[in-house]
């Protein structure tokens, strides 16, 4: 761990302290069929910052992340107990519809997965699902431009918005996948190893982008890459065997981990 953090926030964003937590997980247990993947997870993710989720392969990072927008329920054999609250609202509550949950909690996957539609239609896909009335062409154009500007893609694709999104480079695809979450104005962005399919240059471009989005959105990001966790997150959560072992400010975790398991993992003794 020789490389120093690229940028380190000197102060936590001001409003982060007052806002309700972005995500509050309480006594979450999750089973895939009979296999229990999460054990009594309690976790509070603060608003407006980047929280990294680290841990060895198979420890349940993706599972926890995917529970936060209920995409896990695609699999018919998943059982969940406990609660997850987003901005204080129970997303597994009886009143909550998973369709609405997903509009407020966006998800970016490991492999960029733009839909086989035009760039423009990709950006508008989520919006069109949730819009209660028809938006004018001008409104949509504005939305597309704003979303693509936010992910620093506008200048590169503004002349080919009608082209298929699947023809973009992987980096552009991943940025587009972030952009298409934005028109529904989500509060939380979940990212599951968003850079692991990208080359080093693209990785750093996407990392920079994530860092730019910080403050506007609460971001929970899974990563395998310790250097990435260290330079691009405010807080860090270490998981092992379906449990949360340690949760602290990133700097603190890397400098003086409280648990033996954490320091073993950070120093590369396993995983």
């Amino acid at each position: 761990m020789v490389d120093l953090p690229k940028r380190r926030p000197d102060e936590v964003l001001v409003h982060a302290k007052e806002a309700p937590p972005a995500i509050e997980v309480a006594r979450l247990n999750l089973w895939y069929g009979k296999f229990q993947a999460l054990h009594d997870v309690d976790l509070t993710i603060k608003s407006g910052i980047v929280t990294a989720l680290i841990g060895p392969s198979g420890c349940g990072k993706s599972t926890l992340l995917r529970s936060c927008n209920r995409i896990n329920e695609r699999l018919g054999y998943v059982t969940t107990t406990g609660t997850i609250k987003v901005l204080g609202e129970d997303i597994y509550g009886e009143q909550a519809s998973r369709i609405q949950v997903r509009a407020h909690v966006g998800m970016v996957f490991q492999r960029p997965n733009p839909l086989p539609l035009s760039i423009r239609d990709n950006v508008l896909f989520g919006h069109r699902l949730h819009a209660t009335r028809h938006s004018s062409r001008a409104d949509e154009d504005g939305m597309v431009e704003q979303a693509l500007r936010e992910v620093l893609l506008w200048d590169r694709v503004k002349d080919r918005l009608q082209h298929k999104a699947t023809g973009l480079s992987l980096e552009e695809q991943q940025k587009l996948c972030i952009a298409r979450l934005l028109p529904t104005k989500p509060t939380v962005l979940l990212m599951d190893e968003p850079c692991s399919a990208l080359d080093p240059e693209a990785t750093s471009a996407v990392e920079d982008l994530i860092w730019d989005l910080r403050g506007h959105y609460s971001i929970l990001i899974v990563t395998h890459n310790m250097a990435q966790a260290r330079r691009a997150s405010d807080e860090c959560v270490f998981m092992l065997m379906g449990r949360v072992v340690e949760h602290s400010a990133t700097e603190a975790m890397f400098v003086s981990p409280q648990q033996q398991q954490t320091s073993d993992y950070i120093e590369g003794r396993f995983g």
Binding site: R74, G76, I99, V101, G106, F109, L129, L181
Partner: protein, 310 residues
């Protein structure tokens, strides 16, 4: 496996020249497979040549092609004989159209249910059932047309004759639906699951995922399924002969009886004297059928391939 080290140059050369059992088996397998492959082509060419040769002399010397395609009278046995196949062409088109109106919604709904909603055992069972349906012999379908649909159509629509375009179209639609279901389901299965996941993660309902993402992406495969279903309906003979009423008149509505190209060939070939003009004219009809089916299959293939390349 260890080999004895070769000490001299001579024995290495012998070793290299050795053909072991695996080498011979490979040769035999390659030969067998190539013979199989080449013979498919040979069969098609031979069938084409046979059909062509049987009707050639007549088609070349005495047949008027415009009369064949647009003539309304098919009277090979009166003198002078006329060979107008328009009634059969129209009958085939009508019946195929009705068949597709039945088969397309039926098979697409079944495919979407099997491919997108059913899971586990139920899905496997449904697939087996669909394949069983495809295996019902066509004469059984013909009997169903005669004995079940015939009286049903008479009483439901209050018409005199239940053996008509509607009956044959229903039968053909049901016959083509299983293979179309299987093909359509394959097309749906070829849509990567990551697309469904992406759309669902954006908040799409299952139905939105299907009509906004899955169906558009599967469209080439679905078109191919329809075309092959048309080919299937087109070439069917015995069931349609039994259910259509086999009347050599271009139908004006679905309640008219009709005749198809295939049924006419089947019904008349036995009566026509070998090498007579009538006999040869039937082979010309066969040739027309052959070309149409061939074109449909080629088109289906093009559609699927074109998509894969892009």
């Amino acid at each position: 496996m260890t080999r004895t080290p070769t000490s001299t140059h001579d024995s290495l050369a012998r070793e290299l020249a050795r053909r072991d059992a695996a080498w011979w088996r490979d040769l035999a397998a390659r030969l067998a497979v190539s013979i199989g492959g080449v013979s498919t082509i040979l069969f098609i060419v031979a069938i084409f040549a046979f059909i062509g040769s049987q009707g050639f002399e007549f088609a070349w010397n005495r047949l008027s092609w415009s009369e064949l395609f647009f003539g309304t009278r098919w009277e090979p046995t009166v003198s002078p004989p006329t060979y107008g196949a328009w009634a059969m062409i129209a009958g085939t088109a009508w019946i195929t159209a009705v068949a597709m109106l039945v088969a397309v919604p039926l098979s697409f709904c079944a495919a979407v249910y099997i491919g997108e909603f059913a899971t586990g055992r139920r899905r496997e069972w449904l697939k087996i059932l669909v394949e069983l349906l495809a295996a019902i012999p066509s004469v059984v379908w013909g009997v169903i047309g005669l004995q079940v649909f015939n009286p049903m159509i008479q009483s439901v629509f209050g018409v005199q004759i239940g053996l008509n375009v509607l009956n044959a179209g229903l039968i053909l639609g049901l016959m083509a639906a299983p293979i179309m279901t299987t093909l359509a389901e394959d097309a749906l299965k070829a849509v990567p699951d990551s697309y469904r996941e992406a759309a669902e993660a954006l908040g799409a309902t299952r139905w939105q995922v299907i009509y906004k993402v899955v169906l558009p992406h599967a469209r080439p495969g679905l078109s191919a399924a329809v075309l092959l279903g048309i080919g299937r309906a087109f070439g069917e003979t015995i069931a349609v002969l039994m259910a259509s009423g086999h009347t050599l008149m271009a139908p004006g509505s679905v309640f008219d009886s009709a005749a198809t190209l295939t049924a006419t060939i089947a019904a008349e070939l036995g009566e026509a004297a070998v090498d007579s003009d009538h006999y040869q004219a039937l082979f010309v009809l066969g040739l027309v059928l052959f070309f149409i089916t061939f074109a449909i299959n080629l088109l289906a293939d093009r559609i699927v391939r074109g998509r894969r390349r892009s």
